[in-house]
Structures are given as structure tokens and as C-alpha cells.
Symmetry: none
Subunit: 163 residues, 2 copies
């Protein structure tokens, strides 16, 4: 890409820097839920904040995604979603305090709440964008239809003349 073409410039300081080896990153971000040995015994009741354990104690295959390092997908209940949606209608930017309260009430981690609102806002933005786009498109379409109609009428006139 253009960004990477070598220029004819004399050696910059950067060139020296760039000649150094690039040791790849050896640390991964810490993913507590990916730790195998760190299961908790009290799986029955959640609300243990920040202490995460494999969601499916049965399957311990190392091929599982939680093993690989991704947090297992949270399945919100209808009820939880209802509450979140209701709050969202009034305040789609809940502060930390509200998020914590929601976390307690819904028995979720505060992180899940925050992510939920982020994704929810993205969804709203997407919807608005699409509806705006559709508005434009229908407007343009209307223009096209009118032109077509006008063309047809003109053509009919011509035909009348010609006939």
C-alpha cells in the first residue's frame, strides 16, 4: 500500500528504529473466565461479581470457546431484557450508579449491563440510519416514478399525434 512504499529520503531516525526486531506480543489480555482451574463451587446463585467460571461445567473440552478466551454469551431472560428496554427508553446512557443498581436488581454483572446498553445504542443508531436511508430512497424512487409517468404521458401524446 502507498503507506509503505520506500521513499528516497536519507536515513531518518525512524529507519534505525524500524530496523529493530519486532518481538510479537507475548502477553494476552487477561481473561479470567478462560482460566481452567478457577471454577467456583457456588454456581447455583450468580451475583458473585467479577468471579467468573465456565458456564457449562459439563463440557470441558479445550475446544470450547470459553476455553479459548471468549466470554460465554450471556442469555438474558425476557424479563431482564424488558427491564433494560424500559430503562433504555428513558435513559440510554446510564451512569455507573444506575448500572450497578440494575446489576443488583437483575442479578447480572455490571459489565453485562454496560455492554448491553452499548449494543442497544448501536442497534438504535443502525435502525435510524436505515430508516433515513429508506426515506431518501423512497423519495428518489418517487421522483423516478414521476419521471416515468411523465414519460409515459408524453409518449401517449406523441402516439396520439402520430396516429
Amino acid at each position: 500500500m502507498a503507506s509503505c512504499v520506500k521513499t528516497e529520503r536519507p536515513a531518518f531516525f525512524i529507519e534505525k528504529i524500524l530496523e529493530l526486531e519486532t518481538p510479537e506480543h507475548f502477553w494476552k489480555l487477561h481473561r479470567p473466565w478462560a482460566e481452567i482451574g478457577a471454577e467456583k463451587e457456588n454456581v447455583g446463585h450468580t451475583l458473585s461479581s467479577k468471579q467468573i467460571y465456565p458456564p457449562h461445567p459439563q463440557q470441558m473440552r479445550p475446544t470450547c470457546s470459553w476455553y479459548i478466551g471468549r466470554r460465554p454469551r450471556t442469555a438474558f431472560t425476557n424479563c431482564q431484557v424488558n427491564v433494560l428496554e424500559t430503562v433504555f427508553q428513558v435513559n440510554c446512557y446510564p451512569g455507573i450508579q444506575l448500572r450497578e443498581q440494575l446489576a443488583v436488581r437483575l442479578e447480572l454483572e455490571e459489565d453485562r449491563i454496560q455492554i448491553w446498553f452499548q449494543n442497544r445504542r448501536a442497534k438504535l443508531r443502525r435502525a435510524l440510519r436505515e430508516s433515513r436511508l429508506q426515506l431518501v430512497q423512497t423519495a428518489v424512487g418517487d421522483l423516478g416514478v414521476r419521471r416515468e409517468v411523465k414519460g409515459h404521458l408524453d409518449l401517449e401524446k406523441e402516439e396520439e399525434k402520430g396516429g
Copy 2:
């Protein structure tokens, strides 16, 4: 579901939940992106001039103008990132001079470079913080394991005695 049972706590009035109590929050409620639907034309995106964005009003919570005026996300090429990472390994606080040089070489604005290094440092800090945390947690976990093991051993002794 358990998440939704009503608790007996009366002190959970909706105003607090929705953060309506603080007038400061009131004006930021539920009004994102809808107000001014100004779709801006797709910017050239590479070396576009610096001031195409509305200046940020004095105090800005997440509000609509803040969203609308947001700079379109820069998509760095792999090559650009590689160079930046390489430089970062040597100097994660590049001065203005080095940043300008990088900007020229990578065909980016110097601002993008600066932001990149800021974010990169934040990432590094986060990683270090979390790896430290993990160290502590595994240490604590080890303690727990040792206690458990000791308990088991004690129990075995007891059983031996009893049998």
C-alpha cells in the same frame, strides 16, 4: 425468573433508577442521533483537512452534537500498524518531531499518530494491570488449593483413625 422477583425494598423509586433526580442528567436523556439527521458526505478520508468537524461545545456529556461531530474512524492498514508497533517498542512516548516524521512516512495526520500512541499506552497499562491482578488471584487461588489439600489430608487421617 429469579432476576425479576420483586424485592421488599421500598427505597427503589423509579426516579432514582432513571436518574431523573439529577437535573444534570435530564437533558441528556433519550435524544441521541435523532435530532439532526445531517448525513455528511463521505470525506476523502486520507489526508482530509483538519477542521471539518464542529468545535466541541464547552461541556459535553454524550450528547447529540458530540456524536454528530465525531471524526470518522480511521482504519489503519496492517502496514501502518506494524510500523507504529515497532516504534512503540522502542519509544512509547514519541515527541512531536518523531510523530511528524511518522505522519509523513505513513501518510497520516500527526493527530492520528498521537491518538494511536495514547491508546496504545492505555492498552499496555491495562494489560499490565490485569496481569498483576492475575498474579494476585492465582496466588490467592493457590492458597485456597493448599488449604483444600490440607483439609483432604486431615480428613484421610481421620478416616484412617476411624477405620
